[in-house]
């Protein structure tokens, strides 16, 4: 049995909220630089240069990369031999978000009731998923999700006979309809299988993977590569103003599903891909 004080969780969460909003994912920065050398229009090159400069300014002046500092989504992996002291784990995570968003001068973008729409004023609650595992492990994967891109995400219950072709067509349709709105270059998270909700959950989880890291199953990794190529052939380009770089990566997660179904969810993330892994 291992004991963790929830105050340590709180501190780690608030630190992560601030750091991920100020510091660009080094892999995204590397992808901007690589794509800039491939783009052939001056406008696309200039947009990628501006995004590179944006990251440098954010880090130097401790300003957020983007003013939409997102809604927090966290996946907690919790070993069954871990015991918490000092309060509830859920409250500690929410309190960590509250402290991080206040002390980091981050924008509070969460409304209490989706219809009445009063701002909660502290960016809580975050959306938190718990996954139980064996042993004494405790990890939180945490992200700040912007809504320009979240709003362009879509789900579809395909027929089993639609197969891979149906998945490809649905993903391309979703990215085309999104156009400039999710601030391309984007990262495309795709969940295939499970139930409607499971597909949505793993499409989000896919966005946490290290940028461009392939799926471990070869046929899924191949599908990721095929989709990335087809998406970039759409010509949407940086900011939707034309060019070769529409997506920086496609990440797919899969889950067993029912004989009668083929659920697919496409969760789009913008280039402001802010996520971190906390291990205590």
């Amino acid at each position: 049995m291992r004991t963790i004080n929830v105050n340590d969780v709180k501190a780690a969460v608030s630190h992560a909220c601030i750091e991920m909003n100020y510091e660009i994912d080094p892999k995204v920065l590397a992808a901007f630089k690589r794509q800039r050398s491939l783009e052939n229009s001056k406008l696309s090159v200039n947009i990628l240069s501006d995004l590179i400069e944006n990251a440098a300014i954010a880090e130097t002046y401790k300003a957020p990369l983007c003013q939409d500092t997102g809604m927090i989504v966290a996946f907690v992996r919790l070993g069954q031999d871990v015991h918490f002291e000092g309060g509830s784990i859920e409250n500690a995570i929410q309190e960590g978000i509250r402290i991080g968003y206040a002390s980091g001068y981050l924008r509070k973008s969460v409304v209490e009731d989706p219809l009445i729409r009063l701002n909660t004023g502290d960016n809580t609650p975050g959306v938190i998923y718990y996954e139980m595992t064996e042993g004494e492990c405790f990890e939180i994967e945490i992200a700040a999700k912007g809504f320009g891109s979240e709003n362009m995400s879509k789900s579809m219950m395909l027929k089993p006979s639609d197969g891979e072709e149906g998945v490809v067509a649905f993903v391309l349709e979703t990215v085309t309809k999104a156009g400039p709105n999710p601030c391309p270059p984007i990262i495309v998270g795709i969940g295939i299988g499970g139930t409607l909700d499971k597909a949505a959950q793993i499409s989000k989880k896919a966005l946490f993977r290290n940028l461009g890291e392939p799926h471990t199953a070869k046929h899924i990794a191949d599908l990721e590569q095929l989709l990335l190529k087809r998406i970039n052939e759409l010509g949407i380009g940086p900011q939707g103003l034309g060019g070769l770089t529409t997506a920086l990566a496609v990440h797919i997660e899969v889950f067993p599903t029912h004989i009668a179904g083929l659920p697919v969810v496409v969760n789009i993330n913008c280039h402001a891909s802010r996520h971190q892994k906390i291990v205590l």
Partner: protein, 180 residues
């Protein structure tokens, strides 16, 4: 083409010379307004009350910045998606608004009104909030401060980077590449 420097306020003749695809650096005064502020402005227009600032020749920037740190002018301040303001735009163009800065497509009616009134739709880079903030030298609250990040701010900007996206000739940079 190199980036063109332009100053505010804009006039119809300046706007009519700008072509979609041109990158510009804007210097002068611009005003922030997004969803909630637009609805307030439209209410004032409908009830015949005076607006918190004169729209003639002005540029509205669809943006809701993150909070400023003590001693800083403003927090991150990139554009928000423009389509949500589409149905709220025409009355402002009628009152002399000459420029809008946002990101993403506009409706056919906004594109038509831009031609009629000789205005310009610029886009700024979504997700470049820190870079854009570094080009803002002063920020003054003008109205609706109770709206928080959605309040109207008067911003003094120097070399604010934007792209002429929909021009007075009906050219739309977004269509341009999808046709190709």
């Amino acid at each position: 083409m190199d980036k063109i420097k332009i100053n505010t306020p804009l006039t119809e003749s300046i706007c009519r010379k700008l072509e979609a695809g041109t990158e510009v650096l804007i210097t002068g005064t611009i005003y922030t307004a997004r969803d909630a502020a637009h609805m307030r402005l439209l209410n004032l227009i409908q009830t015949g009350e005076s607006l918190p600032f004169d729209l003639e020749g002005q540029i509205i920037y669809y943006a809701g910045p993150s909070p400023a740190r003590p001693g800083e002018v403003i927090g991150a301040c990139g554009p928000t998606t423009s389509y949500r303001m589409d149905d709220l735009t025409e009355p402002l163009l009628r009152l002399g608004l000459k420029g809008m800065i946002g990101k993403g497509q506009r409706s056919p009616n906004v594109i038509k009104q831009i031609q009629t009134h000789g205005a310009i739709y610029f886009t700024a880079i979504g997700g470049a909030g820190a870079l854009i903030a570094s080009r803002i030298i002063k920020s003054t609250p003008v109205a609706f401060s109770e709206l928080g990040a959605e309040a109207i701010l008067k911003l003094e900007v120097v070399d604010f980077p934007a792209i002429v996206t929909i021009d007075t000739h009906g050219q739309n940079l977004y269509d341009h590449h999808t046709k190709n």
